[in-house]
Amino acid sequence: MRFLPLTPDNRAEMLLRIGATGIDDLYGDVPRDKLLAKAPNLPRHASEIEVERTLGRMAERNIDARSAPFFVGCGAYKHHIPASVDHLIQRSEFLTSYTPYQPEIAQGTLQMLFEFQTQVASLTAMEVANASMYDGSTGTAEAVLMAHRLTKRKRTVLSGGLHPHYGEVVRTISRMASDDVVSLPADPTASENILDQIDSSTSCVVVQSPDVFGNLRDLRPIAAKCQAQGALLIAVFTEVVSLGLVEAPGAMGADIVVGEGQSIGNGLNFGGPYVGLFATRQKYVRQMPGRLAGETRDAEGRRGFVLTLSTREQHIRREKATSNICTNSGLCALAFSIHMSLLGQAGLQKLARVNHANAVKLADLLARVPNVSVLNETFFNEFTIRIKGSAARVIEDLAERGVLGGVPFSRLAPGAGHDDLIVVASTEMNTQADRTAYAAALKGLM
């Protein structure tokens, strides 16, 4: 077995040294009838060639995002990942290191996290950010719990523009803790009246922009109402590239900003691993979930970084911790941070413009297809079309014609009564040929 360095001789010698007559001596505390006499009924070890063939066959049964005109979004986006990003995150010293518990030999990870936190705070226009959450959806649930701790209230209001999965994650954990959740109905045209839902019992309001339908939302009035009522505004985004072009939630009065960072530096990966971005006000930092890297000095006075404020965390605070999170998305945060370092604000803004331009061109094209209408007044790189018939059906038919045309909203929210909506995303990866292929295929189906 190529992964196991011990030779049979080694094993015999070591058992002798230990004073055991056989390996099962070491399993002496296991009830005898529970100790398996032999390996379970599964295939025996296999060579790299064989493993590659097996997984390669599975891979070939999928249509990857590069091999078709691709317009699927709703919380995960196909962007270009620079080759240097993927190279760097595979450096042994990043890939095969643990959480930086020994800071003297983990300055690489710690400085990177400090830089990551700064990048996230800058992008969101917030004061502080943590060292990552699992993803945007779990981060949103954590934000709600944090708001409850801060406000000592238990009632959450979810906008109808929030990604339905995100809403479900919040509702699941809230149900467990018997907290109240008001979920506004799906709101494709950003016309809900959320202000009326906010009162002095409200802990927090969760609003997404760009919302799941792609609409851009003005958070300012909601922030004002929240502030007046002592509630907190949680701003969510699923497409971090939008922050290059769209006003930052921190500049509109959000108290907690949480979002999905996958678009920068991280592949689609069929849904994970991704990286949750989480930022808030300085004054709330001690109620924040997740790890934080902070600056300090070493014994010779040199700048260095450590994990800090860990009295918030489970390994110190146990049942009183701000969260149970331990392992987070370190390597995805690294990928994010490298990609963002390459971009800088100049690159991010350009990237955002290309995304927006491609989406606008696509929307214009699709709007001209008979029986198709674009719902959005505003959008960034994602918008919603209403088509004739079942969106789910049309998306399947498009796939058969070689176009991955977006997400039928009914897939995210089956009972919501919007079976004719498709959410369509477009990024810098799309070409004019992709767009015309989409329009033509859709036309053929309408």
Partner: protein, 520 residues
């Protein structure tokens, strides 16, 4: 000053050592500034063509606030991160005996396969007809996990161990509520030796924690559990093998008692690496157990994640598993994404879990095979016992001189009159080229040193480690305090002041102007 686990809370007075250089570099060990100190606002390390003219659709939402993030050219970026990486310890560079963390070899074939476009470049919301291979992969891994644990179901979506704990506990809560006992069963039993995530998870799900004391031999007695059980108890969260590196020998009795009391048995599976292919948790009476794929199944830790924490479930809990899950429909696999019309307790995350980790874990499992997995566990246990046996005369074992599972646990009694703490000892290991073991965990052991070598170490590697530990231990016993109190001397940084960091937290870079302003 020491805290109750004997961990110093302040760094000592440490002199400056060594040869100075102008750059403060030390040959191959480079100093490196922050990207914000070297980048330029107008620079970007990516060439992106401006789009042709078009009419924006941003309405009144265009960004007006500053971003303030400088960019780096590509060569500067490479150098920045390569230099940072060179300040890290890694499995690939040396023994990483962090107890409870299972820092085993991360095969590179896993990385390669996770990057196949057909696995890495597929979207979670593509039509299911276009991702049948991905679903097949998840099903295959699920089959391995269920077979190895002897459990009938597995929830694949949890994102890490702690998330898996939440998953298991939510399933338990849902099952209890389905029985109509939600209002009465409010307590979860957790031994003192448990990992912090266990009580934190219980609290997250809305439970109160009732502690169970450990026995003098480091395990939990069935009697103690029985004493703590009652109609108010929803579950027990027990780690097995436990955090002291021991197999819970009364686990079958405990499980029976828990079930008899109408509660469920959540097993923390972080230490599964000791028993894969040797013992099936399902045979022990476990109702739910998470498996850290980033420990037992070799997916890389990545400096703190990502992980993956699938949770195997007993028949009693299976119906309450979260969405999404996969259902066979003829030849096709269907991902059930909506909890409506099922008993599922709901959704834990936006998509389907950590596919990137599933690929790696399956690659690991197929490579090892059933025989290799069993051998790996045996080797992990053998390696830990070898270290334990070879250090037992110099260092003290909290629960006597007995066989352990895949971790060897020492306490700090043997350091008693040396003035040297577990922390000091750990930092001196750094100078010798070793990552320290886990320190001060489990909390029930004073000055704990939890050593987990994993199966990935050769005998030669273990022997050098043992000799080094013995040399250090002799040194400590001889009162050579300087080797410890000032350590590390040779790392990229000397000991870092954690108190300073926490007192006035600096959590992000600020432009010098802003810092000056804040200081006023």
């Amino acid at each position: 000053m020491l805290n109750t686990q004997g961990r110093p809370t302040h760094a000592g007075d440490i002199g400056v050592t060594g040869r100075n250089t102008f750059t403060r570099n030390r040959a191959l060990q480079m100093e490196e500034a922050l990207i914000f100190e070297t980048g330029h606002l107008e620079t970007t390390g990516l060439d992106i063509e401006e789009p042709d003219a078009f009419t924006p659709r941003l309405g009144a939402h265009a960004r007006k606030s500053d971003i303030g993030l400088p960019g780096l050219s590509e060569p500067e970026t490479l150098r920045h991160y390569v230099r940072l990486s060179q300040k890290n310890y890694a499995i690939d560079a040396g023994l990483y005996p962090l107890g409870s963390c299972t820092m085993k070899h991360n095969p590179r074939i896993n990385e390669k396969l996770a990057r196949l476009p057909g696995l890495g470049d597929i979207h979670p919301l593509q039509p299911q007809s276009t991702v049948q291979g991905a679903l097949e992969l998840i099903e295959t891994l699920a089959h391995w996990l269920m077979t190895l644990t002897g459990m009938p179901a597995v929830a694949m979506s949890p994102k890490a161990g702690a998330h898996g704990e939440a998953c298991g506990m939510m399933a338990i809560k849902a099952a209890i509520e389905a029985r109509g006992e939600g209002a009465t069963r409010k307590i979860v039993l957790v031994p003192d030796s448990a990992h912090g995530t266990n009580p934190a998870t219980a609290a997250l799900i809305g439970y109160q924690v009732r502690a169970i004391p450990a026995r003098a031999d480091g395990t939990v007695s069935a009697q103690a559990v029985r004493d703590a059980l009652g109609p108010d108890v929803a579950a027990i969260m027990l780690t097995n093998p436990n955090t002291c590196g021991l197999f819970e020998k009364e686990i079958v009795e405990i499980a029976a008692a828990v079930h008899e009391a109408g509660a469920y048995f959540y097993c923390d599976g972080a230490n599964f690496n000791a028993i894969v292919g040797k013992v099936r948790p399902g045979d022990l009476g476990v109702d739910a157990m998470h498996i850290n794929l980033h420990k037992t199944f070799s997916t890389p830790h990545g400096g703190g994640g990502p992980g993956a924490g699938p949770v195997v479930l007993s028949a009693a809990l299976a119906p309450f598993a979260p969405v999404p899950f996969i259902r066979k429909e003829g030849d096709a696999l269907r991902l059930v994404e909506d909890a409506e019309g099922t008993q599922s307790f709901g959704r834990m995350t936006a998509f389907h879990g950590q596919m990137g980790m599933f690929v790696r874990a399956l690659s690991y499992a197929l490579s090892h095979g059933s025989d290799g997995l069993r051998q790996a566990s045996e080797d992990a246990v053998l390696n830990a016992n070898y270290i334990r046996a070879c250090l037992a005369d110099l260092m003290s074992q909290p629960f006597g001189d007995r066989f352990c599972m895949h971790e060897a646990l020492f306490d700090d009694r043997w350091l008693k009159d040396t003035g040297i703490t577990t922390l000091d000892f750990a930092k001196a290991m750094i100078d010798e080229g070793y990552h320290p073991m886990t320190m001060y965990f489990p909390l029930v052991v004073h000055g704990a040193m939890l050593i987990e070598p994993t199966e990935s170490e050769s005998k030669a590697s273990l022997d050098l480690f043992i000799m080094t530990m013995r040399d250090l231990a002799q040194s400590a016993r001889n009162g050579e305090a300087e080797r410890f109190s000032g350590a590390p001397y040779l790392a990229p940084r000397r000991r870092l002041d954690e108190t300073l960091a926490a007192r006035q937290p600096i959590l992000r870079w600020q432009p010098p102007a802003a810092v000056a302003e804040a200081a006023e």
